[in-house]
Symmetry: D2
Subunit: 142 residues, 4 copies
């Protein structure tokens, strides 16, 4: 199924709007490209932090997980779910906004392997706060 | 630092109450033992789902991440953060409640390796929906 | 396909003997059960060490990877490959023999999620040196 | 500790020559740079294969693991070990030579997070066969 980029981004935003948890958190889909590129952002607010004032690890992993899924789905052209992923937190996420950038690195018949970098933006400054890698699978593979 | 089990569970619940994101989601710390055992539960509600009515992957990974951290912190006796973890989603999480059970499998001087099983409860039925493994590190190790 | 345990272990040993790399390293299949249980051993010798006299990480990860695959294959009843895995090294592997014990924790239609503990034996003493978790997939899924 | 690139590569090759397992497999260190860049190659021969004629997964994971460690060590400037890593196999490794290219993506005080791509070369053709991500830790951190 060939999809033009504008339709893909619109469809991606519709799916995000259909996810109650993504609405609760406030994620914004900024970029989605057929080759398997995704950029997902999340404005930080007090409710998304842990006890030391950083974004909670679960918020960072939510964003990485969702960006991996979008990148895999965009590359796949079929309905997908995240099968598994791994994340390394490399710096406390202190700032106004998280930005997850994911890309498909290998596209198979029923699985796509993707990587994701999560940055935290504070003013004009952007710093890497987590890196992830995971498998996105065709719905129904298991 | 030796901590008695009752104090540990009370202190653990205080920390959870200090995490705005854990309050937003509604996580409940059921069990926390000095040997590195943790049980963390999360009642599911519409806001925590994705578009097909399952618990969002980010909710499942939040619970696994947090349970891993608690298990590691309980085993360590010092302040910890999750350094990295990996999660495999094995079944759609459909039910009323998620239960994450984590335990420390190796305790080092500044790092603890933990595993976690996440179950979804539906009535009297409990099913495995994800398995995780990760590293919990002493705060300030990096 | 239902296989009796004796046939399964024999078939497993034949497959191991057909792997030139497993012969080079000297792995021994000790146990293989239809439910998805595997025990794989490796006598250590100088050629399998790194520069400090421990078993090389690559040797430990080989054994974990192969044990995961066997456990998954035994649970699956179809031909499998390791799709991905994650390993935490928790202690230098110093001793005479490595023992990897793996088990299937979730069996799907085309994927099995397995866990593995790797121990090092020194005399009568056995210590955990690594823990792993991974996905075993039906051959041809990707 | 500041090291010039030529000395670093020479020292890296000495370490590789001191690893009996790396000698057994025949790994060659092609590139090692202070910023945390490593290229490690392995000519394939029958002994390194599995039963279907591909490089054994354990060979691919050995190379990824070792390349991650070198990249981390080069970035760190202190003695390191691989603490943990995750690998996705994305294509059967059929060819004459494996090439692992690793880089440090985040350098901390006692831990470095690295990524690695493993390619298989067949004639003039080079294909991605695995991707990995892991944590390299200062020796003695645990």
């Amino acid at each position: 199924m060939k999809v033009d980029p504008v339709t893909l981004l619109m469809r991606g935003r519709e799916v995000l709007a259909e996810q109650p948890f993504s609405r609760l958190l406030g994620a914004e889909l900024r970029r989605l490209e057929p080759g398997g590129i995704c950029e997902l952002e999340l404005p930080l607010r007090t409710e998304l932090l842990q006890q030391h004032g950083f974004a909670h690890g679960g918020v960072v992993s939510y964003l990485a997980d969702n960006a991996l899924t979008y990148a895999g789905g965009a590359a796949a052209g079929f309905a997908v779910v995240t099968s598994e992923f791994k994340i390394n937190y490399v710096r406390p996420a202190i700032g106004e906004r998280l930005i997850a950038r994911a890309e498909a690195v290998s596209v198979g018949k029923s699985q796509i392997v993707c990587r994701c970098d999560v940055f935290v933006r504070s003013g004009a400054d952007e710093k890497l706060c987590a890196v992830a890698q995971g498998t996105i699978a065709r719905v129904g593979v298991d």
